[in-house]
């Protein structure tokens, strides 16, 4: 049980996928304009990532490893992710149309996003068991949501700030992202030199 908590805390804070692995930067910069859509995007990604971690672990353990097909990892994981995102998209369109609309183009973008594939590949590299892998995926999603929400909160405030003309828009956003990444570096070492 201790191990599970460790993985969760580690993926959310210490090895935050956005701030320390620099994965998923596109939605991080794209959807962080408004807190509401940031949270929506974060949870959609968390859902996809948790499911991905679950399904890819099964495929890896019961299909790829027994037949010595580890070289198919990337391809099959992409297939899984693409199908899952399609599924989530249909699900959202039916159940929460407003969220579906708010996410817009970014939902299909999860398909091709490195954060999900990165999660699947990192997970298979680490030899987790099923529960650990799912927690790893969930933690990564929550970490992503956290990053997105913090960013959205700051960006909403920045709207009212007097930003120098050349830095408006993209420039100031990247500076904030860099500062946040620096701040998250403070967590490293929290879990015994992690």
């Amino acid at each position: 049980m201790n191990n599970i908590w460790l993985i969760l805390i580690a993926t959310i804070l210490v090895n935050n996928f956005v701030f320390s692995y620099f994965l998923g930067i596109c939605p991080f910069l794209g959807v962080s304009g408004k807190a509401s859509s940031a949270i929506g995007m974060g949870f959609a990604a968390t859902f996809v990532m948790t499911m991905t971690a679950f399904v890819t672990w099964l495929i890896n353990r019961y299909i790829l490893i027994p037949y010595n097909l580890e070289f198919l990892e990337t391809v099959s994981f992409i297939l899984v992710i693409a199908s899952l995102v399609q599924f989530v998209e249909m699900f959202l369109k039916k159940v929460i149309p407003s969220l579906y609309k708010a996410l817009g183009i970014f939902l299909p973008l999860i398909t091709t996003n490195c954060i999900v594939l990165g999660l699947a590949l990192l997970g298979s590299m680490r030899n987790y068991n099923l529960l650990e892998n799912v927690v790893f995926g969930f933690g990564a999603g929550i970490g992503f949501t956290l990053a997105l929400t913090i960013m959205a909160g700051i960006r909403e405030e920045i709207e009212f700030a007097d930003v120098p003309e050349p830095l408006k828009g993209g420039g100031i956003t990247l500076i904030i992202a860099g500062l946040l990444a620096l701040a998250f570096m403070g967590f490293s070492g929290m879990l015994g030199g992690g």
Partner: protein
């Protein structure tokens, strides 16, 4: 069984499994959409140019049906598409604006306009414009790197060997992407029937402008004086056409006295487009994708 067979079977199997799951989900989670959305989307040109103000044709089709926004905003589709959409929606008698095309309002070719520097930076008008205003002496003139050419999804604007782009009026749909791409606001959307144009954006004093460009508007007011009352004005040392119909009516009189040939009748009475003198004999050259 060889590795290849196993891999093929595995990937095929996984693919099939997900295909079945998605198919089931598609059946179960199907959302009933207004069928007119798909119909209108099919009618729209599919260029996704954004001239209507929506992210793409699909988004615009949805807005037409669900939010009831006006459906005559599709510039590339023009009157034809508007009529078809009207049929789908069961609406009649919709007014369609006149077709508009892009016009480059500058004659500052490499021969006609002087440079004040040699520019070695990024091969883009926008970059050059931000680098101390680019290499041209004229701060308002066309820089000729072809941002507009690259912006056009319809292959309707091309760079010429004289350094000024030329609009292909037959292909131009009036979507306005080149207008946005130009950092100096030189390109304007004009009604296809407009005949007389002031092909200059220079706001410098005439004495200065004439020094660095053969075709600059030098603010002599001769055209304004000869134009019908109130149809033209002089603003920031630049002649501006306020009412093109009135000016077109007196075209010959208005353009006759212009000492720099910066106000011109480009479209004759038969509706034929003629090249401005600065671009005569210009050849189209490719603009490399950056």
């Amino acid at each position: 069984m060889g590795v290849i067979t196993i891999s093929l079977l595995t990937m095929g199997g996984i693919g099939l499994l997900f295909a079945i799951i998605l198919l089931l989900a598609y059946k179960k989670l199907a959302v009933e959409e207004d069928p007119r959305i798909k119909e209108i989307e099919a009618l729209l040109p599919g260029a996704n140019c954004g001239a209507c103000g929506y992210p793409g044709c699909a988004a615009y089709a949805e807005a037409i049906v669900l939010e009831g926004v006006p459906f005559n905003k599709c510039a590339p589709g023009g009157a034809e598409v508007v009529e078809k959409i009207a049929k789908v929606l069961g609406v009649e008698g919709v007014e369609v604006g006149e077709r508009k095309v892009a016009q480059v309002m500058c004659q500052g070719t490499d021969e006609a306009a002087l440079d004040r520097a040699i520019y070695h930076g990024i091969n883009s008008c926008r970059a050059a414009h931000f680098t101390l205003g680019g290499d041209k002496e004229c701060y308002w003139g066309c820089l000729g790197f072809g941002d507009c050419v690259l912006a056009c999804p319809f292959d309707a604007i091309h760079m010429t060997d004289k350094g000024i782009p030329l609009v292909d009026r037959d292909k131009c749909t009036g979507c306005g992407l080149c207008v946005e791409a130009c950092p100096r606001d030189i390109i304007e959307l004009v009604p296809i029937s407009q005949k007389v144009f002031v092909l200059c954006k220079n706001e410098d004093r005439g004495a200065n402008a004439r020094k660095y460009c053969d075709y600059a508007c030098i603010a002599c007011r001769l055209c304004v004086r000869n134009a019908p009352q109130g149809s033209m004005e002089m603003k920031n040392n630049l002649a501006i056409i306020l009412d093109h119909k009135q000016v077109d009516g007196e075209a010959e009189k208005v353009i006759a006295k212009c000492p720099t040939k910066s106000i011109l009748k480009l479209v004759d009475d038969e509706g034929e487009f003629h090249l401005p003198p600065a671009l005569e004999g210009a050849k189209i050259v490719p603009t490399l994708k950056r």
